[in-house]
Point group: C2
Chain length 366, copies 2
DNA sequence: TTGTAAGCGTTATCAA
DNA sequence: TTGATAACGCTTACAA
């Protein structure tokens, strides 16, 4: 199989192993170095004649340089690890699109790992990523703790966190400007005449963005007269929703009976969907007449439901994350950066001012 | 940097490059071969003493074998390419979950490529995949044509198609049993008293599953009396919906005026969503009272909208695809297989029989 | 302008 | 039971 003089010029045939740089060199009647030079764009160093022969040989053998071998030799393989907690959440997919576009533009290949909300998977995937010697990692996960990321940070592999910070880790971070987004939403609700706000969020432990959003909600309330605008928080664990939904019903009922104008504010898309489904089961098709619902995350069904949302700049978040990584890989050694991008309020019917709504004024404009 | 006698037993420090097998060998006071043997589970060949030393050295240096180097030497890197046309479609994400689970179970690492509905990207990614020397590919794309896949098939790299076949290519294929699924849905609609069915599908060129579903719809109609049950098809191009939506309105209006009971049947989730949004804009919040809508793909918002669907066995489709690949990689050389999995009818309010609906009987039960 | 040879981190072959 | 040593496919001094 090794050296059949007759078949030296054979076309790539079925079942043939891929051509190597050596095959190409032999075919072009030159050395491996020249092929390598050609591949790496060191044109001008090659005589036109040789270049042509190389081109012909490559085409003939349908040669594709082996990235693995390249990476091994060069010490970098252009692979960027991307750990995602949940692709089921459209937010993640959108961020991913930004990441992919940026990777493509900068010549990286994203190695996408989807942990499907399993902390255990996250650990395994992080291990795997180091094993494949990724040059950097972008992380949007649930159970990331300091120790898990040490393998990277200590090895000098840059890490960028998306949508959350991790205690004890100093790395670049990209995400929504939660305080501003939540404040914008809260003010919108109050402006529309709602005076009983319920912020609904998943358990905040270990996910900084949830914590931040909840805190921002409480902070926003300070802008209004406590006697007029009431605000409270409800923790909803999507893995065990029953108790929270019961509590939700109770509060909605109480608000109704007290003659208050209630608005529910979901901290993200998945929470909003679960709550919407529940409200529909509970109040029937025109549940939106009973309670107003808005959320962070402009889910695809938001338009169908006519729900007001805060749209996150997902694409830019992804792009920025890659850019941060790229800068670090280029040798930039500044302190950890935090990039908070603004959200966009998308007003729909769900939070429209009802005809008899009172006008509520701010305590202060700050 | 190479041999500092003092730091031979140093703990992994910040900025240090990852330990190699040579480092571990030195640390354990043995040769690389033994380390390699240990890594590959050739236990029993190693003396307990040596094994212990190796374990200690690995732990101390936090050593992780380099998959790239392994792949280079072994000729296989456990990488499986996965080309996805559109992660925005929940169908894809669900299939992906099955794929990931199976890959994990079988020791593969999926290299996920998301073409974001761009045929051009698909081509680029396929190139890239061959460059990374994936051992197999799972493809669910838009513009896959014979030539594009030749690089793999000719090189002996197994290919599995998901949800569609490609003319001129003989490979394993996994997907929904479209004829059965569509027939089931059609019969359901007729059973519920609808007698004017409109099947809505994206342009069928190049995507076999769309073609199959449309054909199956037409075929299903044959089971009923043509004078009683009317059926027709509407092509909706999601990149340019206006004309199709106009036509849709026209047909809905006509059916209404003719006193027919109309049901819209979307060939997949994205079409259903687009149509639902349009109907809501057109007919207001209680659009469902005007037209019945069902679809293939049990989208997350289907429950919220109370829409009847056919749920695809997405997880199993993904799992099966990997298994097919795994069998080929194990040397199985049988003819191309086609695995068609059954869908599941999820009945919700959208297609509930209206009180005054006539009962329509089949022409034949076959 | 071109080629030779060493080496990236593994595994496999062979000998001790 | 162990360990040199030669590949794997590529890049990169260094020579010519």
């Amino acid at each position: 199989m090794s050296d059949d003089p007759i078949s030296t010029s054979r076309p790539p045939v079925f079942g043939a192993r891929r051509a190597t740089i050596t095959d190409v060199a032999r075919e072009a009647g030159t050395g491996k170095t020249s092929i390598s030079r050609y591949l790496n764009g060191e044109t001008g160093v090659l005589s036109p004649d040789l270049r042509e022969r190389i081109e012909a040989a490559i085409a003939k053998l349908d040669y594709r340089p082996n990235q693995m071998a390249r990476g091994l030799k060069r010490g970098r393989n252009r692979l960027i690890g991307m750990l995602l907690a949940d692709l089921t959440n459209p937010y993640s997919v959108e961020v991913l699109q930004g990441i992919e576009a940026a990777c493509h533009a900068l010549g990286y290949m994203p190695l996408i790992c989807h942990a499907a909300n399993e902390v255990d998977m996250e650990r395994r995937y992080l291990q795997l990523l180091t094993t494949y010697r990724v040059e950097g990692v972008i992380v949007n996960a649930l159970g990331v703790k300091e120790e898990l990321l040490q393998g990277f940070t200590q090895g000098g592999i840059p890490v960028v966190l998306v949508d959350r910070t991790v205690e004890g880790i100093v790395t670049d971070m990209v995400g929504l400007d939660n305080p501003a987004a939540v404040a914008m939403a809260t003010h919108h609700l109050v402006d529309e005449g709602f005076d009983e706000l319920l912020f609904m969020v998943q358990p905040v432990t270990h996910v900084s963005s949830r914590r931040l959003r909840e805190a921002a909600f409480q902070a926003s309330l300070a802008a209004f007269d406590t006697h007029v605008v009431h605000g409270s928080t409800l923790i909803i664990d999507l893995a065990d929703v029953a108790p929270a939904l019961d509590e939700l019903d109770r509060r909605v009922k109480a608000a109704h009976e007290a003659g208050r104008r209630m608005a529910l504010f979901a901290a993200n898309g998945p929470v909003a969907l679960r709550v919407a489904v529940h409200l529909k089961e509970r109040h029937g098709a025109d549940w939106q007449a009973h309670v107003a619902l808005m959320s962070i995350d402009d889910s695809e069904w938001a338009q169908l439901a006519g729900m007001t949302t805060v749209r996150q700049p997902t694409y830019d978040i992804g792009r920025r994350a890659v850019e941060f990584l790229h800068e670090r890989l280029g040798g930039a050694a500044m302190a950890a950066r935090e990039c908070l991008l603004p959200g966009e309020l998308v007003v729909r019917a769900s939070t429209a001012r009802k005809h008899n709504a009172p006008h509520i004024s701010h305590v202060s404009e700050n």
